[in-house]
């Protein structure tokens, strides 16, 4: 069983780490939001924190931005201690917060100019307006923007000081697919310029498309770190047969099908059979179903993805 594999710790050690986190902890009352995590992010990497809401991603990112103070552990960003050197740090990082409400009665351009004045050096607002495709809305008050436009403005604000390191907290939430793709292009452009990006997301596709490396978080802990290929390959050498659950066939029967290495259920609705012999497994499944006088519905074959890794690691789907 692949589940028995040990969790691989913090991954690569970078000589040129832009972020170093060691045993970071943060508690809110009864809730241990961050329960001792370690990771490093190298210069020029796009690093993703992947996990469901409440996993501790935002708390982690806000500690690294100097907005919250950790209870224990060490965190350095761009060589600066996040606790004692926060103000020097803020000059050099770009920050996008999850909820973006910004001076409702100022225009897009005015907000960008205002934020540009907070930094010693800044990018011309018009350049950011073009880059984030807000040209048509440059003179609109921010309260008149759509959710996606507001999100793009908040990303533009994160880039106003031409930062070495950009934090994006759920950057594509509320965006339509086209806007999401154009944001991905923007992030790839940042990487091409040698900038480092730390982003949080609960979109598997975004993590797969964008991130050089990922940390999978749940309940305040990092479960595993690596590239998408490493995370998938480490855990799955098999493919997945998925179908709508048939209560008449028990897990022991399923596990005895040819090639099946593991049986899992998704939200009590679908059954997943991890197998090294797709044809044999499907043949056995159809046979068992026929014996019951039913037909498996929604039958499909998948190569394993991050979704499967997440499910295997946490026992639940990310959207729970």
């Amino acid at each position: 069983m692949t589940l028995a594999q040990p969790v691989i710790p913090s991954g690569i050690t970078h000589a040129d780490a832009v972020i170093r986190v060691r045993d970071l902890q943060k508690r809110y009352g009864e809730v241990q939001a961050v329960a001792g995590i370690d990771f490093e992010v190298g210069r020029g990497e796009v690093f993703g924190l992947l996990g469901p809401n409440g996993a501790g991603k935002s708390t982690t990112i806000e500690i690294l931005e100097g907005l919250r103070t950790q209870d224990a552990g060490e965190a350095t960003v761009l060589g600066l201690d996040v606790r004692s050197q926060a103000s020097a740090l803020k000059e050099r990082i770009g920050v996008q917060l999850q909820t973006a409400a910004l001076y409702p009665r100022l225009t897009v351009r005015e907000v960008l100019e205002l934020f540009a004045s907070f930094y010693t050096s800044s990018v011309p607002p018009d350049q950011l307006i073009e880059a984030l495709d807000l040209g048509e809305r440059r003179n609109a008050q921010t309260r008149q923007l759509s959710g996606g436009q507001r999100q793009r403005l908040s990303v533009a604000l994160a880039l106003v000081n031409d930062p070495e390191l950009v934090f994006l907290d759920e950057p594509t939430t509320g965006m339509d697919p086209a806007a999401r793709r154009s944001l991905w292009e923007l992030v790839r452009g940042l990487r091409a310029k040698g900038r480092t990006v730390l982003l949080t997301t609960h979109y598997m596709e975004e993590a797969e498309e964008l991130c050089d490396r990922l940390a999978i978080m749940d309940h305040g802990k990092i479960l595993e770190i690596g590239t998408v290929d490493q995370l998938v390959g480490r855990r799955f050498t098999e493919r997945t047969v998925r179908y709508e659950r048939l209560p008449g066939i028990d897990d022991a029967t399923l596990a005895a099908f040819p090639g099946v290495t593991r049986v899992a259920h998704e939200d009590d609705e679908a059954t997943l059979l991890y197998t090294r012999d797709v044809a044999g497994t499907i043949g056995a499944l159809l046979g068992a179903a026929e014996a019951l006088g039913v037909e498996p519905r929604g039958l499909g074959i998948r190569s394993p993805s991050l979704e499967d890794v997440f499910l295997a690691l946490t026992g639940h789907a990310i959207r729970d």
């Binding site: 907005l67 803020k90 917060l97 973006a100 100022l106 005015e110 205002l114 934020f115 907070f118």
Partner: protein, 365 residues
């Protein structure tokens, strides 16, 4: 410095684009002044004027029934100019008219005797220009009439004007500084709303992620409010002057200083509210609840001497009492509740107290 200017201008833009905020801070006090001014200034077409006859001749006595005076003034006779001036200071009369000795013989000789014109003196109150202008104008036309009758000759009479600061001030003059004080109080208290709104909508959090200092951010908010307060003061002064003829008597810089101090004290109180109000809604409720006792238990709408002892003691704690009193002393005069220095000291104490409380309890997230 650049950042402070940018932030202040962003705040001012946000304010001027918010019609509701504009109405409550600028239009509402004016509506108040015009409304109450119209009520209290009714029936001022006939002024009571003190009459001091220094001559006692038939000509001077005849003046008492001269229609140019009798039809427009209620004339009240006093024996001496000093008595009349004392009555004016107490507010019994609006002006004093002194007929000089030798008036009768000057009229009789109608300028045949060469020599200087006889001075006819009128005492008016400069704090109410509308009234003093009207009275002076009427007396001037009377003097002109006598001089005209002796046309071609040297003038018989010369109008001499004197000012007397009346300590009893008119209801409107009492009201105008009160309304300015009230407007400054609301301006300050209501500064709680935008800052709580910014905290609630996470603008404060986003600002905290930039390198600007918290004190720069707060300073910009306070400067914005002060600028709005000064604009309110100018608008209220202008309306009081144009509509009611009430002018600023005292030093304009002292006046501006009191406006700033008063605004700061109430802005600090607004930040105390912002420190304890979790949401914008609760901040508006706290502000509404606070403003009524602050307003009506203070001495800004009634002279404190006219209140029962219990209310007077309460009013003696209210910052608005002292802001109204200080503004009134500088704007229109009148009997002070406490000397200006004491009022300023008490306002400063409120400012420091509220500042310390909000510095201790204000939350950014």
């Amino acid at each position: 410095m650049h950042t402070l200017v940018r932030l202040t201008s962003a705040n001012l833009k946000s304010f001027t684009r918010d019609r509701a905020a504009m109405f409550w801070t600028l239009a509402f006090p004016l509506v108040f002044i015009l409304l109450f001014g119209a009520i209290f200034s009714g029936g001022t077409s006939r002024f009571t004027v003190a009459w001091v006859d220094g001559d006692g001749s038939p000509s001077s006595t005849a003046l008492l029934s001269n229609p140019a005076l009798a039809n427009v003034f209620t004339l009240k006779t006093y024996a001496t100019a000093d008595d009349a001036i004392a009555a004016m200071k107490q507010g019994d009369v609006r002006a004093v008219l002194v007929i000089p000795k030798g008036f009768g013989s000057a009229i009789a000789s109608a300028g045949a005797v060469g020599g200087a014109a006889l001075p006819l003196t009128v005492y008016t109150d400069p704090s109410n220009q509308q009234v003093s202008g009207t009275i002076t104008g009427i007396v001037a036309s009377l003097v002109g009439g006598f001089n005209q009758a002796a046309s071609g000759r040297p003038p018989i009479l010369a109008l001499q004007t004197q000012t007397v600061q009346s300590e009893a001030i008119s209801a409107v003059a009492y009201l105008v500084p009160s309304i300015l004080a009230m407007a400054l109080m609301q301006l300050g208290l209501f500064s709680a709303i935008p800052i709580v709104e910014q905290r609630e909508s996470l603008i404060l959090k986003r600002i905290a992620a930039t390198p600007i200092k918290r004190r720069t951010f707060i300073a910009a908010n306070v400067i914005t409010r002060l600028l709005i307060g000064l604009i309110q003061a100018v608008v209220i002064l202008a309306v009081a002057q144009v509509v009611f003829g009430i002018t600023l008597l005292g030093n304009p810089f002292v006046f501006a200083g009191i406006v700033v101090l008063g605004a700061l004290a109430f802005i600090a109180l607004g930040y105390v509210v912002a420190s304890f109000a979790p949401t914008e809604d609760s901040a508006s409720q706290m502000v509404s609840i606070l403003q009524f006792p602050l307003m009506f238990l203070s001495g800004i709408f009634f002279a404190l001497e006219s209140l029962p002892q219990v209310l007077r003691s309460v009013a003696a704690f209210m910052p608005l009492t002292y802001l109204g009193d200080a503004l009134r002393q500088v704007m229109v005069g009148g009997t002070p509740f406490v000397p200006l220095g004491v009022g300023v000291g008490i306002l400063a104490a409120w400012l420091v107290g509220c500042f310390l409380i909000s510095a201790r309890f204000f939350r950014w997230q």
